[in-house]
Structures are given as structure tokens and as C-alpha cells.
Symmetry: none
Subunit: 219 residues, 4 copies
DNA sequence: CATGAATGAGGCTTCATTCAT
DNA sequence: TATGAATGAAGCCTCATTCAT
């Protein structure tokens, strides 16, 4: 919950702050991310930031919201469209997710960090819930599919949901380690990733969803 | 690379230091982990630690080596045994991995942290390699299997390796979020995890390997 | 000396500011009292306050004047009335003083703070004079009484004045520590003190003045 | 509870720190007293102070203990000696108290501050008790005297105790405002007060105890 | 070889005040 | 006149590392 003050500052300044804050939090642990470095990068006074946000934590959760909303914009375009099958829809969502990651390295990097922020006592359980929520959402989707009789009878839906989520999260690592994309560098320069053909992506996503279709679906 | 001095100290002292250092690094980011807290917990002089290790980073990589070796002891017992099939072997390895996690929360926690320590400039690329190495190892194994004609013709081995590794890493989260195990608490008390029946574990591992068998294997 | 601007603002706003400013200064040291908190509590612009008062110090001395005047209203009602004896008058004044304390916890709290604000270099000697003035006033009163031959010949009037003033100031502590009144809480809620019977107060005041009569007066 | 580290540093350094810390806390509110200023005055690193004391509060309570012990040394020399009467003893104690104030302006100044430190939420009730404790001690003494039949039958012992304590505390103000002693300056220079004749002091103390004798004692 | 005191940079946050709008 | 965003110094505290003992 940023201050009203923050709402009112110029769009440029907002974006300046947003960019550098995301950068810092995308490249660092919550605890290791430095408010001082953010304001220095922005060229604003340290006191200013505290007129926009209550404290570091407040800033953090604001960034979280921004990133989630940005990602939602990608995903929701898919959610409401009809698809031939559950797995077609999943593929489309997955693709949008990757597109989001590639086009918004800052936001993607920030969200990626959230998943590993289990340690921090300061942030508390607000984050513990984060991955759990993803798990529950996918479990529900699978339950629906299961009740329609489209999934294997003996499929453990919790494990299936875990697999789907876990593989989705890891996509960034895949792109980094296998495709050679340097997200860290992209975050530093706030540069979207180019040069990854849709074909390559489709190949990856189809491959993976193919497994889910075959393994989870009714033979 | 710990100093010669470190090699010479008593086993007890070594283990004391090891325990508290692992605890601190398992519960905290590299940067957030505090050398001061470690020595305080150990009750040893701060200067001593700097006679055993060059610096924080040196200590960190020593711990890394220790944990990897401990985990290897679990895994290698499997590696050299013959199994009926590749996936049987995989299952056995996976089970050993989980056993390691449950029996050694400190070491497991430390290793888990490594995977998310991609950011730190101080640690450099030494960690980036970590996950990549896992990927390569599994890719090689799959290549072997592929050449024996046991895998699908159109299987993308890189993707397959990524899936295997990614799902292995996530196991801790699964145990935490789905099975309700509180690793943080176990790390704090250095208590192995009890109460998780072999049956449960087998169910999980079989489920997952079943997925791979079906997805990757020749129909 | 508040600015002309301040004189012109609405009575409501004045009182709003007065209330919250007194609250802050009654609960905190001069230095620890926060201008920011005052304006936040009032919901007025920070700049506004600086158009009403030159600075924190200016506000402080304005509050001081207000409180002193309010207390004077209590005391002066007694000063001009005739009493049978000096000590009767003293009793009446004392009672009025306590009544002021109980009915105006904000103002009372502020004045109480003044007495302990001897340290502040910023406020300078303006406060040092405060208690001294009280001393002188009472000394004068005693001198008058002395000249009328109603006090003991060997009474040290300076010491006597000191005792009277010192015991008057401490009344707040007495009420707090012995009668169990929580002034801090009353200040926070701006609630006058109820539930202290006139009988109790009279007992206390009579008791104390009785000593003065007996000890200071001519046997 | 200072650290063991503090116990071990050289006496000179201890005294250096003690002097400047007392100075700062004697001249300022707890909250307004600045740790930074203390270390700067001492010429030591800020980090050092935090190796001696857990935090500001810890330092504060250490100073409190030191001052109370120093004052006890003055008072206890009286406590165990026999005196002709309760009031003779009181006189002696009072004199010792003043002697302590005059000879140790730093310690006296610190203790004086404690009495007005009712505001601070951080210090909590540890201080609220302070004045109350004095009250209770004197009340007990008076109770003893009362039971021996030496006090007026209708004396309210709580009020009497309050008067004694309140007048004792105020002594510093008396010396400052009436005798013209500049404690602030003495604190800054850590100079004991000279030039106040024993005769003057005796006059003051006798006057005051005379008051109590007459007021409280059986006629 | 062990010790642990010293360091000072950096962490987050609050402050009184100014000044352009 | 009212506003409130901007400022940067100062607040307390923790850190990894060094070095004299």
C-alpha cells in the first residue's frame, strides 16, 4: 500500500523508481536488497522513498502486486478464451508465461525471487502462501478435469499439480541454462529477450505438455 | 579450501562449527548469513574462524563440498548397484535423495539454498554451474539410454533432463507444502524428519517415475 | 509568537492543532516530540504548520503560553478572592491547581514536561526561568506574610518557597503513583480524570497545608 | 548487563566511556541522548560500543546501576550508624545525598534524569518503578516510626512519604535556582561543585528536617 | 595458534525544514 | 494561503574482516 504521495508523482518518476526497485529486488534477496542502493540508482533522496512507501516491506509488496498484475495481463487473455482441451489451454498459458518472462525480465525476475523467499521472518507467511496458492489453483483445475473423466483414475492430483507448477517455475532456469539466456544481464539493462524464436518455444512447451497429456490423461 | 590449521583441529570442534555454519547458511541467504552469528553460536573466537577459512566465501564453498559429499554417499550407493532398468535406478536414486533430505535437514537445506543463489556477484559463476552440472549429468545418462534405443525417438533429451532435475530439486517444497513438513524448524533444531512412511515416499516416487517412464520411454 | 496567518484560521482548526500538538508534547520530550506526527494526526499539511509558526520552538512556546493562561484562569479566580488567611488561600489555589490537572490532562501534561526540560540547549534559558519564576512569586507572597508578622521569625523564606513549589509540582506524581491515575493514558485519550472524590483531594491538600501552617506559622 | 568484553577493557577506557556516556545521558532525555555523540566524544568506533553493550538501553541500565551504587556508597555509610533519632538519621542521609550531588555532578545528573523518564515506552515500566520504590521505602521507614508511637496519630504516611521523597528529589533544583549552581556546566566539565559551605548546607537540611519533625512528629 | 577488541562502512528509518506549485 | 514533495543529516544497529596480544 504505497502512500497517496506516491500515487501523485509523475509517471516518469514512478517508472524510474519502479525500474530500479525491481532491478534491486530481482537481483537480490529481500534482505540483501538495499534501499540505499535503490535511491542512489534513482538519484532521489532517501527520505523521498519513505514518503512513497511505509518501509522496505511495503515497497516489496507493492512491487509484488505490480508484477502479479502484469503477469495476469498475459495469462488472463488466455483464461477466458475457449480451448479445445484442457491441455491446449495449459499450453497457451505456459506460452504466455514464457512470453511474459522474456518481455519483462525485471518483473519476471522479481516473481522468480518470491518463490525462494521462504527464509525471511520479516515477510512472514505472506510468501509461504505464494507457492501453495499456485499448487491449489492447479489442483482445482485438475480436479475439474478429473471429474469430467478425462484423467487417469489412479492419478494423484496433488502430485500432478506439484509437477506442473514446479516445471512452470523452473522455466527461467531452463532458458538460462539450456538456451543460454542471461537474465541477470537482461535485468541489469532492463532489456527484453530477443532472438528466441516462437518455434523453439513451441517446441519446448508442446514437448512438455505432450508428457502431461500422455501421462495424466486417460489412455 | 580450508587452511591447514582447520584440518588439525579436533573433530568435535570441526563438527560444532560445521553444524552451526550449515544452520546459518541453510536458514539464510549467503549475504544475509552472518559470520558473527556463527561464531557466537559456536562459542569460538571470531579470529579463529578466519584462521580456518580465508573468508566467508571460503567457508561457504567448504560447506558446499561437505554437503555434496554427504549427498553423494547416499546416491553413490545406488549408482554402482545394478538395476533392472534405468527407471528402477532412477527411482532408487530419487528415494535416496529424499532420504538424504529427511535425515540431514542441515545439509539438505544448505544445498537447497545453493540453487537459488544465482544472484550473488560475490559468489560468481561458481554457482551458476551447479544446476547446469546436474543437467549435464542427467542428459548424459539419458543419452546412454537413448542410444540403447529405450527412449522415444523424438524425445528432446535436454528438455527431459531439465524436467528430471527440476522435479528433483522441488522435492523439498513438495514435502513442505503438501506433506506439511517444516524444514525451517527442523534445521533450527537439527532434527531429522520422522513420521513420513516409506509407503508415502514410495507412492510419490513411483508416481513420478511412472510419469517419466511413460513420457520418455518407448511406448 | 504565531504568525498572523495562524490568528486567522478557523477556531476548529486551531483547536485541532492545539489538541494534537499538546498531546505530542505532553507525551514526549521537546526533542523527541515530532512535528511530523503532529501534522499527520491533525491531517493538515506540513507546510501549513510552518506558516502558522516559525518553527518547532515557536510552536512550543505558543503552547506554553496557552497552557499557562489556561492554568491562570483556574488560579486567578482564587487570587482575587479574599480569604480568611494566607493558608486558606494557598489551599484554595492548590485545589484549583489539582482541578486544572485533572480536568485538562493535555495542558497539565505539557506544563509538567516543562519542568524537566532544563536540558535543552535549543530552548535555552527561557525554561530555566520557569521554575525560578514560580519560586519568586511564592517567595514574594511569603515575604508579605512575613512582614505581617504571621510567620516564624527564623523561617528561611527561600527554602519555604522552594518547599511549597516543589510539592506543588509533584502533585501529578502523587496522583499517579499513589492514587493510581494513569495520566499518560488520559493524555492519549484527552480524557479528564474522573472518580477522584473531592473528599480525597481535600484530605490531601488539607494535610499538606496543615504542615505549612504549623511549621511556617507562628506558634 | 555489559558484555564480558567491556569488563576486560582498560580502566582508562572504561572511565572515558563512562564519563562521556553519563554526560550525554545527564544532559539529555534517554531518547534524545545520542549514541553517536557518545562514541564521537570518546573517540572510539561506533561498533566498539556495541561490543560492550547490547544496545542503547543496555548501556543506560548499566549507567543506572553505576550511579545507584555510587550513591549508595554515600548513603550506606549513614544507614548503619546509630543516630539519636529518626530525623537525625534523615538529616545525615540528606546531607550525604547532597554531598553526592555536589561531588558527582555526572552521576547526580543521570539519576536526576531518571525521575523524569516516565515517557519512554522503550524503557517501559523499569523506570516507573523507580520513584515508586523510593516512596515505598520511606513509607516503610515511617511505618516503623509510627508504630513506635513517635509520629502524629492522624498522619497520613503515604502523604508524608511523598513529601519527603519529592523534596529530596528537588534538591538539585534548589541548588541550581536558589544557590546559583550551574549543574549543566558542571556536567559538561565534569567538575565537582566547590564553594558551598557546610554551614549553608546544614542550614538548609536542618530547616527541612525541622519542618518534618514539627509536621510529622508528636507535638 | 587462539583470541576477541577495533573498525567504519553500510543497513533501515525518522527528522525538521524548505519551496515550488 | 495552503500544500506536500524533496531533502539529507542523523538516528540506532550489524557486518566482515583485521591484527596486536
Amino acid at each position: 500500500m504505497p502512500t497517496i504521495t506516491f500515487e501523485k508523482i509523475s509517471q516518469e518518476k514512478k517508472e524510474l523508481l519502479l525500474r530500479h526497485a525491481l532491478q534491486e529486488f530481482a537481483l537480490n534477496d529481500y534482505q540483501s536488497a538495499s534501499v540505499s542502493k535503490i535511491v542512489k540508482a534513482c538519484g532521489i533522496a532517501k527520505g523521498s522513498l519513505y514518503q512513497y512507501f511505509e518501509n522496505k516491506k511495503d515497497l516489496y509488496f507493492y512491487l509484488k502486486k505490480v508484477c502479479e498484475e502484469k503477469k495476469s495481463n498475459y495469462i488472463f487473455s488466455v483464461l477466458n478464451k475457449p480451448y479445445d482441451s484442457f491441455w491446449d489451454k495449459y499450453e497457451a498459458m505456459y506460452l504466455e508465461g514464457i512470453k511474459f518472462d522474456l518481455e519483462n525480465p525485471l518483473h519476471s525476475g522479481f516473481l522468480y525471487q518470491i518463490y525462494q523467499e521462504k527464509n525471511n521472518e520479516d515477510l512472514g507467511d505472506l510468501l509461504k502462501a505464494h507457492k501453495q496458492k499456485s499448487l491449489e489453483i492447479f489442483e482445482q483445475l485438475l480436479v475439474g478435469e478429473y471429474q469430467k473423466g478425462r484423467l487417469k483414475k489412479d492419478l494423484d492430483l496433488k502430485i500432478a499439480a506439484f509437477m506442473i507448477v514446479q516445471l512452470s517455475i523452473g522455466i527461467v532456469d531452463y532458458l538460462e541454462l539450456v538456451c543460454g539466456i542471461d537474465f541477470r544481464s537482461n535485468i541489469k539493462n532492463n532489456q527484453p529477450v530477443f532472438g528466441l524464436s516462437d518455434k523453439e518455444l513451441l517446441h519446448f512447451v508442446r514437448h512438455m505438455s505432450g508428457f502431461f497429456r500422455k501421462s495424466f490423461g486417460k489412455s
